[in-house]
Amino acid sequence: MIETRNLTKDFGSLQVLRGISETITDGEVISVIGPSGSGKSTFLRCLNLLEVPTSGQVIFDGVILTDKGVDINAYRQRMGMVFQHFNVFPHLTVRENITLAPVLLKKRNQQDADRFADELLARVGLLDKADEHPRRLSGGQKQRLAIVRALAMEPEVMLFDEPTSALDPEMVGEVLAVIKSLVSAGMTCIIVTHEMGFAREVSTRVLFMDEGRIEEQGSPEQIFNHPVSPRTRAFLGKVLR
């Protein structure tokens, strides 16, 4: 479904990604872990070209997105993304946050979009907030809104960029629960996370990144219980105790 070929990204003289070749197939749930500055978020943001790679290719559904002349907007509609800082739209109501893109881009009529939005909101327990503005929501509620906003476009894959890192600890659970329900519904997910317990529980595959490369990868059981690379061991030794 998504493939990268020898992906690199430089910020000035800093090499953030040093050649990543990886294939993610339908239905996989990938957790990307690793120390800060290892390039996890940049890797994720390259997949929908939010960061334009310095070299290499991103291939989605057989189309080379990094080629010139590709209408990236059409492909972004098929990849949902959730950010660390929610980025909900403060000038729109909760429901409008969700319906804006489907009405504008998928030419849904407003009633249908509203009905679908309410269905999604009910699923994440926010239906009673539909007419509020996001300023009245807690961090966890904002992130749940951000997730259903992305789902309203009916994407084929969801990209999560540290979705719980900006949350107060008591709100992490509610957001992880929503992601888990997506996973059990069969959604393909790529999750950059620091929640090791969560990664272990939901992933089908774990990528450990270090210094712009995928240092080691495998099943959660393999990565967390029998890491081979000394760097993976050192990292897990610091974060798991």
């Binding site: 939010l50 972004r76 881009l105």
Partner: protein, 225 residues
């Protein structure tokens, strides 16, 4: 000098109150026209500055720097003398030339106001919109501008206050604004301080009440955020 202050003040006021009011009106009119067209032109300049086309953004940048880097009085002289020479068929009145100069000046400042207002919107908003599949224009119109307006409107109000004071320079060309009235009254009555005070008080009342208005408007905008 100060012995006759009271009587002189009353004398000037009594004889010229109508002119002072008219002058205040013209000052307000001149300022309103300046800010209105300055806002339109300034927004266009701001869009040009954000353009990916180098000649467009380069022109806008050069224009803004040039206008902000030279005195308004010089621009007024240049344009009121040059414009009728360059475009004689328009038969521009002095008032019109002065207005054009003020608009051209204000546009540069509005450009920076609009640019700052847009830049102040969290880049995460743009990222979120783009990942949903909105293109750059849709993102600007539906997501960034509605939020930028809340930054821009109060700053535009402040620009209005600034322009009210700056129009006093237009009196160099006797266009009938408040400061021109000062010159008339002063010349006719041979009093200096009194008409100054009257004009000063009127300017202050105008700008102060406008500032207060803007502040309360700003508070309402914040509350709806």
């Amino acid at each position: 000098m100060f012995a006759n202050f009271g009587p002189n003040l009353l004398k000037v006021l009594g004889r010229y109150w109508g002119l002072f009011l008219q002058g205040a009106g013209i000052t307000l009119l001149l300022s309103a026209i300046t800010v209105f067209f300055g806002a339109i032109l300034g927004s266009l300049l701001a869009l040009m500055r954000r353009s990916r086309l180098k000649p467009l953004s380069g022109f806008a940048l050069g224009y803004v720097e040039l206008i902000r880097g030279t005195p308004l009085l010089l621009q007024l002289y240049l344009i009121t003398f040059l414009l009728p020479e360059l475009l004689p068929m328009l038969n521009l009145s002095k008032f019109a030339s002065v207005t054009v100069a003020l608009v051209l000046n204000s546009a540069a400042y509005v450009c920076e106001i609009v640019r700052a207002g847009i830049n102040a919107v969290d880049p995460g908003q743009t990222e979120a919109a783009r990942t949903l599949g909105l293109n750059a224009r849709q993102t600007m119109v539906r997501i960034v501008l509605p939020q930028a307006v809340k930054n821009i409107l109060p700053a535009l109000g402040n620009e209005f206050v600034t322009v009210i004071k700056e129009t006093s320079l237009a009196s160099t060309f006797f266009v009938g604004d408040l400061m021109t009235v000062y010159k008339t009254a002063q010349g006719a009555t041979f009093t200096v301080i009194e008409p100054f005070l009257i004009v000063g008080v009127i300017y202050f009342v105008l700008t102060f009440s406008l500032s207060k208005l803007i502040t309360s408007f700003e508070r309402r905008l914040k509350a709806s955020d």
